[in-house]
């Protein structure tokens, strides 16, 4: 397998890594950079657990190759809080129990962050729509959607 050296920014830090050409962005994040907050729920683009921000857009990192991220700006769940202060979506997930097992949570938070970045005042229906690619088997979604709604209102 041919190896490629790529440079990218992850959670604000410049990174230079060598990856095989068939390695996914998800595997690179989890196994090369050891940012294990991003989760693997299907490796098939169907569950959203692996969602990261790719130049500001939410993508399923299991469906992208690491080499495609050369030069990109990536944000993972580890990059949402700043200087020990939680992102307000994170805060609301804590306060309102938008979390149960927590496995879908990193992807949910990233999708919600992407939504609020492009639409600071989404309706509940828009929130539901933005999260439809993020499967959760625990919460029933009500508190997740409510947490995002409330994160909007404190902005």
């Amino acid at each position: 397998m041919s190896q490629h050296e790529i440079s990218l920014t992850v959670n604000g830090s410049p990174e230079r890594v060598t990856v095989p050409s068939n390695m996914t962005l998800l595997t690179m994040l989890r196994e090369v950079l050891v940012l294990t907050g991003t989760k693997n729920g299907c490796a098939a683009g169907e569950c959203g657990a692996c969602t990261v921000l790719f130049n500001g857009e939410p993508v399923n990192s299991c469906m992208m190759l690491a080499v495609e991220a050369d030069g990109a700006n990536i944000v993972t769940v580890e990059g949402l809080a700043h200087d020990g202060t939680l992102d307000r979506i994170q805060q609301k997930f804590v306060e309102l129990t938008g979390v149960q097992c927590g496995f879908c949570t990193p992807g949910m938070l990233i999708s919600a962050r992407a939504l609020l970045d492009r639409n600071p005042h989404p309706s509940a229906a828009q929130i539901q729509d933005a999260l439809r690619g993020n499967l959760c088997r625990c919460t029933g979604y009500t508190r997740v959607v409510e947490a995002v709604e409330q994160a909007v209102s404190i902005s």
Partner: protein, 777 residues
Amino acid sequence: MPDTMNPITPVGENIPRVDAVEKVTGAAKFADDFQFGPGLLYGRLVRSPHPHAIIKKIDASKALALPGVKAIATGADTPGYIGLYLQDRHIFATDRVRYIGDPVAGIVATSEEIAEQAVKLVEVEYEVLPAVTDPLDAMKADAPILHPELGKYQVANFIFPKPGTNISNHFKIRKGDVEKGFAECDVIVEGEFRVPQIQHVPIEPHIATALADQSGKITLWASSQSPFAQRNLIAKALHIGQGDIRVVAPYIGGGFGSKAGVSMEACAVVMAMKVPGRPVKLRLTREEEFFTTFVRQGLVARSKLGASKTGKILAMKTEYYWDAGAYTEYGVNMTRAGGYSSTGPYEIPNVQADSYCCYTNHPVGGPMRGFGMPEIHWGIEQLVDQLAEKLKIDPRDVRLQNCVKTGSEIVTGWKMHPIGLDKCIEKATAAINWGKHEPASAPHKKRGKGLAIMWKAPAMTPNAGSSSYVRLNEDATVTIGLGGQEIGQGTHTVMAQMAAAALGVPIEWIRIATPVDTLYSPYEWQTVASRLTWSMGNAVVAAAQNARQQILELVAEHWNEKVEDLDIKEGKVISYKSEESLPLQNMVIYGLPKEGDCGWRGGPIVGRGNFMPTYVTGLDAETGQGPRAVVHYTVGCQAVDLEVDTETGQIEVLRVAAAFDVGKAINPDQVRAQMEGGVVQGLSSALFEQLKLKNGKPVNPSFVDYRIATSVDMVREIIPIIVETAQDDGPWGARGIGEHAMVPTAPAIANAIYDAVGVRLSSMPLSAEKIFLAMQK
């Protein structure tokens, strides 16, 4: 001693989850997040492509020759059996495969890709046998026998296999005189109801990493609801001491029963034993997740129910045929639970029930949220509505009249403990304006309301135990050792609350010792059956009380006072008599100096506690009657308000009221969160879910073809209602709630659909297509 029946802070308070910050920051570690360094090897499994076949020959030479392949494990490495209640399973198939996906060999290689390539190079010669793909066929006299060795398997003494047949357990109830009972009935209804296999669909797939070191010691890191049961079962199967296997189990990314007992974890261990000193990681693909660990069993239920014209239910006759799959080591106990709870939450004087666990060449049936109860209530609760219709009595009133109440004689002959099911029915129905017809939102839509009630007891070995330690640190933070797993249900939070209350320290001082590690953590049977709040809670409270007692004795001696006059409040020992006060800091590690610089007293404080129910008895094998088959029942009611689109058959659930008697809500907000999640999982199973099996082959093992509820399917309004009738042996009166909220959802929806459009469907799921077609008839 704190009186655990009297709430003290923070018991009963809406404390935010103690694991939430870890989980929103990505700090929380799951089993695939552990790092093993460059020595890590990867595993993939060779699986049977046939539902039923004899293995003639396995030739792995080509696979072994592939560069990067380190070892191959097969059934020859582990000829013994494994299983929780019935040891009917090999870790790797030996002579025979019994379902599509049955593991035949395990490849260990330097990467997952190489292991996957090697899987295709293993040549297995099979002699294909006729397959059994329906539980009713399994019962036939001329059915192919899946387990000719059934009579030789080791089995728990409350499971009754029938050697020479495909029945691995037959549970019977013979109560009163069922024929006489029916003869006295004015109204009788009967029906056949079918529940398909569904999958738990945890978002985290199964994952296990195993290491067998050169000295023979084994370590397993797994996403596991049952680290201690895994240690025990794997030790027995491999003839190793329990003390020589260590299972490390961090946060679980959802399990719902699929990660209870043992499944693929044992394969990982056997594979690791082939490459001593190298850890081997085995993670299932999403496709494998759908059918190779556990699925919820299928069920064919035939029931008959009769009542007097005043609405009193007099007789019930039931046959349950469980489509339990290829191995029923766990499923046999679901069959039992389905039997001893077979009437649903009703007091019925004459009952005949037969619950059969049937081997089929289907994926292995295992525990799933509700342990047989969602399946049996699907039919029971629709029949009760049919009975009410014939009686011309409000289905709510039929339930109020017949439901189990404190002191009712239940199906096994036990007298019901204090319980508030009638309150649940009243509150849930009132919350959706029961009895009031409300208009639909559009002319092509019809609105309907329905309800269902439920009961469920923890189904477990009679003496399933819990234990805990409570260790104090220099700064008086408190480390709680426990062996139950945080699977999303919030157990760490609830344990922290109970420990803080029992010890007398602020909740912020509590730390939970994670991950659970069988080498260091105290024993816990399994994280199943909604039993932790009650069972592990009792152990944690006992340990906290024990630590508290040690501290009070130390300070009483120091102050020359009596223990009875002292208390611990907000992390300080106080005396009600002398009004002295002393913070716990330092004293709980270093003790206290004696007067006049002449030595010390005390020492590091470690409290210990355990809990095990000691009162559960067996049931008569012929009648299913006995003093006390279970520890307790949690009961509840759901009322559903929905609309059916008459042009498409599409359902929109407008609101669900869910009322459950949890004994005591240690954390009301977390109880409500369980109810909400359970309602949506129940709705998802009712409307969308079925693992489709064609001749034993799962045809939809992906999220694209097996749909679960997404954020757009969210129920607009869920109204969780907490009812509290104290459990006599629960901490502060608490009982479990994790599984229960899923149980009545499907039949409540079915009853509401009938109310809306007059269509009754006897099989799940209630797909739009099925509803639409039924409306055309």
